[in-house]
Amino acid sequence: MKISLKVNGKKYTREVETNKNLLHFIREDLGLTGTKEGCGAGECGACTIIMNGKTVNSCLILAVEANGCEIETIEGEAKNGKLSKLQKAFHENHAVQCGFCTPGMILSARALLEKNAKPTVEQIKEAIEGNFCRCTGYQQIIEAVQDASGQLKKKEGLKRA
């Protein structure tokens, strides 16, 4: 089936098999490999993208369901080669270890900040609850989101550069 959709502001029209999921379509057909597959079953959030303003697990959606939709992936986060505030905050606060959860994490955080410019720690936790991170213990990720929203008090007593 032929579908048309906008990804990161760019229009694509492609022929796609009706049983292909959106994650594989984005990665394989559009070559945007920043979106990751961690489970393929809607459990881990590695494949999180923003579709018509809402975060979704792209592994749970068929590509054909995205016909006519507007999609944002991690590749659209930096503008003109400049990192977004969130990306900078993840970079500076060591919110990245292996990095496999990072694209999905950043999109979940981004969707939160669009609705709520100054989220509390509880609200941040809730917004990224569906995104597994096995490396960081989440704390530095939460700090990065606080930092991006201008709310980070540096932890006392620790040596920071």
Binding site: R27, L32, T33, G34, T35, K36, E37, G38, C39, G40, A41, E43, C44, A46, T73, I74, E75, E77, A78, L83, Q87, F90, H91, E92, N93, H94, V96, Q97, C98, G99, F100, C101, T102, P103, I106, I124, K125, E126, I128, E129, G130, F132, C133, R134, C135, T136, G137, Y138, Q139, Q140, I142, L158, K159, R160, A161
Partner: protein
Amino acid sequence: MPVVGKSVPRKDAWDKVQGKARYVDDYSFSDILYATTVRSELAYARLNGIDTARALSMPGVKAVLTHVDVQGKNAVPLVFEDEPFLAQDYLRFHGEPVALVIAESYEEALAAAALVKVDAEPLKPVLSIREAIAENAPKIYKDDNCFSRYNIKKGDAETAMKKARHIFEREYETPYQEHAYLETNGVIAVPGLEDSMAVYGTMQCPFYVHDAVAQAIGIDRNKVRIVQTTTGGGFGGKEDFPSVVAGQAAIAAKLTGRPVKLVYKREEDIIASSKRHPGLIKMKIGTDERGKIVAAIIDYYIDGGAYSTLTPIVLWRGTVHALGPYECQDILIKSYGVATNKVPCGAYRGFGSPQVIFAGESIIDEIADELKIDPLEIRRLNGYKVGSSTATSQIIDQSCGLMETIDRAAAKADWKSKWQAPSSKKGSTRTGLGISTVYYGVGLGAGGKHLDRVATSMTIMKDGSVHCAIGNVEMGQGARTVLAQIAADALGASYEMVNVVETDTALVPDSGPTVASRTTFMSGNSLMIAAAELRPRLLHVAKDMLGETRDEDVELIDGWAFSKRNANGQRIHFKELAQKLYAYRLMPSAFGWYIAPDSSYDKDTGQGNAYFVYSYCTNIAEVEVDMETGEFQVKRITCAHDMGKAINPQQVEGQIEGGTLQGMGYATMEEIRHDANGKMLNNAFATYILPTTEDTPVIDPIIVEHAYDRGPYGAKGFGEVPLMGIAPAIANAVYNATGKRIRILPIKPEKILGLE
């Protein structure tokens, strides 16, 4: 400014936050084929035949491989070589690879795989440690179902036990743990010219994979190249297992003459990849009237699963650490790595230690409770200090921060004012505090001594940038960053100018595995050696450029050279030094070869200097328990760690926080279940439960630095330690809140209520 000790940003984060980092599944090659695996449905069976005809006739299918197609030797080269790349003669666990289907697309491979017929005759499987060690157990490995055994004999434990004032005897059990790295295992094998083979993949130990590929397809090692792709987590789970996947993919690539991608789906990854060994620990501890340990007799069993993989060395580490960081003159430890018909277990952060730490740190809490001693004081009384003798009679001669970790964690967690004996707790919601103390031998120790060396090459490029190639990998733990910091300061370059490249076996010689918390120490030291060779050459050219006459009058820090004698503000940039270095035709490269400090081990008694140095930590957990439902919440975990020197404090905190949460998963929710026939029941993220943000307590990391004089800038290594003592800290806190002692992990509400 020097960068060691500073929380500089990670080298790899820039690409990772943009989704630009390339993990194995992000690579493609023209003409690529896709592979999927046909697996055993049975836990134990005789393999009579494999019918591949129907699968072969399916559209897109290029080949279906079984053990007869293995060009080299059908054995994964780990310790004993008992595991085949593809099952032969017997099926030994549910999920064992039997055949590989190779097709033009993944979907076609998958469709055909369903048509491969495995003809096997079921046998009665052995499914637990207790079954395997029972008198009349069916024999599935040699004549005792044991892959390996160790003894530690210090003094005379039997006699000392008889003289003990109090004797405590308890049994503890620990479950499987799945690594759940977010990126599954996977590789792409690419055949090259002159019968060479390159394998790209996610892994911790490119040189193990190098061995495996050479052996699987029977070619010389100088024709094999392993390229580690950006790796989405490892935690030990990509130590031994990538050898299996890479060997299989290489067999397929050699057979078809085309690149073959073999990347696992999550369900396959959980069913087939190695796990943390389940453990059974029998502790008998004798003390004097004050709670001082006077005798210890410990039996330690681990469930190795169907093949030995790394079981012998996992067991060795656990055996050495079985009593925990406590002085005792009379010790007898016996350990057994047991065979069962389940998924093979291998390396997982802590490597045979978290099991015994759960037992040891639980029983010491039980002793404190019965003798009415503060759990913290019993640890102060017995714990290692400089001068203590370990279970292997090694004298701890330096860098022992255990007591300071206890003090600092206790102060931060407010132990003194918050801790109360369980008997004083009332009400339907109760809080509790629990503590654990841990020590951990850094590096491979006497058990893996022959592998404990590392190589590095360092080259100053013409533009002054510095290229470092190292045989240890970045897998998320931050190695490339920390090593660049060490290299920069050792050389006098700026951090920004140093690049530690991703590991490619064509660039560096075998450095041994990226395991055992050894990378900062080992690769750090080898970089210091390389830098020490290059630095005098830089000083030499700088001297001329600064108009000095003696090299020692020149200083080089953070990318600038200047005169020590003459504070006239003249300084020369690294870039100019580099150009001059080339103009002088001085060699701009150096090689760092570093061998670990010596360790030793007596085969019969286990006595000797087991590891060259130890790291230490104290964890204090705070829980809140609903006494009616048994539901509990971990509120806070305070973790004080002595790693010698925090090269990058914020990364150290990240390791503490991440490891602590993995430890909390192990303590409270993670376990693999099998049915009565040995089928794994929960090989998916929907059923294998992992901690999310909603489970995460406040984790409070504390850095304690008792420098090790042989470490780079005093660093020891500690990446595994944060996970290791979390389970007993939480179990002890649960006991402190409720009076209910949990001796079988994971801790669950039903167990707190006494229903399970």
